[in-house]
Subunit: 217 residues, 2 copies
DNA sequence: GATAAAATCAAACGGTCGTTTGATTGAAAC
DNA sequence: GTTTCAATCAAACGACCGTTTGATTTTATC
């Protein structure tokens, strides 16, 4: 079961992932966790404080892992361009792998992260994005080195597209799109990566698009 | 100004896109539209009824346009495989072009559509997805014909990835990701397409990934 | 075993939520 | 001018929201 704090965080991951942040009430949350209503505010101060703690608990080790992978890649290639598949893997691999069976509760957090990317509420988005400053500072130059045929703006856009595919996959991996009238097939994260990474690599390294004027500074 | 019904729909597009469905109250909505609180329920029955009407108003002509483009392409290529760039354009072009200045209020609806793809609330998602049955029935076989080197499951996954990039771009086009510490550059939809389509085409037509077992029926 | 701090509890706070009511308006139909 | 009916209005409905209170229980310290 674990202590109250953990039980609240676990319940919050599940419910926020299923229903969103605003649609989940603290009453429903504490009831689901089997704790008293007031203990949420005792431990986290507010609902927003809970959301913040929730992201920190998972995102900090996650992004540390991504940066460690990037460190290793940069060391191995001595600051030169990193092969794109490895670089993409280092970026999308850790979050997608969180869905593995071993990391208990990982899948629900993966869905939650997918949600957070498209969360309209400003405060949630801000909490979420603040966890990525360091990640962007390190990964963007790496992508630029690995995509020398593209200017800065184009690299930014392609990273944007990549994040979109990743977030959408994380949010809806368990139901590979009702659009397609397919029943849900739970996916091994390694197989998911084996499909996603080549798709992204091909898109990222495709030639510079015609018909887009160069950025003027 | 327009009549009450239209004013509510317009205000709903703006507020839902900015704040999400659950976070926007009917009071805030009717106040923003400059109409009486009760008129929302008079014209739409409920908040959910409004959401449904909101999607129908835009999605019906939008998907009709997509299908018309597909019709034209299939006719031109006599049922044979359609060149991938044209097919992708027919799929992602109409929604992204909704942001053009001419179609008033299009941009806010584009953001709203991006939101709806990742809306946790079941009812909203269901309303939204019901608009796409016909679209999937027509576009999936077309993609299969244009991607003969891929099996059915891989095509489904790649369409899934494509939808992710599209939805993320629609939801966050105006702020090309705070992740990248870039200030917002409002984008001409044609330039946006000139970037997105080649990215998606390259990803879609990349070779069949290794390490993924064939689907067994 | 007394003391102090940390944690849990039932109960209530003021507000806002989506929705409903019943009266009132305005324009068309006769 | 009367009737009719769709549309708008102010006001209120009960339910639920996030948060706070103050008493009570548990846990650790001496």
């Amino acid at each position: 079961m674990g202590d109250t704090k953990t039980r609240i965080l676990d319940a919050a991951e599940t419910l926020f992932a299923e229903q969103g942040f605003t649609a989940t009430s603290v009453r429903q949350l504490t009831a689901s966790a089997g704790v008293n209503l007031a203990s949420l505010h005792y431990h986290f101060g507010s609902k927003d404080g809970l959301i913040e703690a929730l992201f920190e608990r998972r995102l900090q080790p996650l992004n540390r892992e991504r940066l460690a992978l990037l460190d290793a890649l940069e060391k191995r290639h001595r600051g030169g361009p990193i092969p794109l598949p490895s670089l993409v893997e280092a970026f999308v691999g850790p979050p997608l792998r969180l869905s593995s069976a071993s990391s208990e509760g990982g899948e629900r957090f993966m869905r939650l992260m997918g949600r957070a990317f498209s969360e309209p509420e400003q405060h949630v988005a801000q909490i979420f994005l603040s966890q990525f400053k360091e990640l962007a500072r390190r990964f963007i130059p790496a992508f630029r080195r690995s995509l020398p045929h593209l200017d800065e703006e184009e690299v930014h856009w392609r990273i944007h597209f990549m994040v979109g595919s990743m977030a959408h996959t994380m949010a809806h991996a368990s139901r590979v799109s009702q659009l397609l009238e397919r029943c849900c097939v739970p996916q091994d994260p390694e197989q998911l990566l084996a499909r996603l990474v080549p798709f992204l690599v091909a898109g990222l390294e495709s030639p510079r698009p015609a018909g887009v004027e160069e950025a003027v500074p």
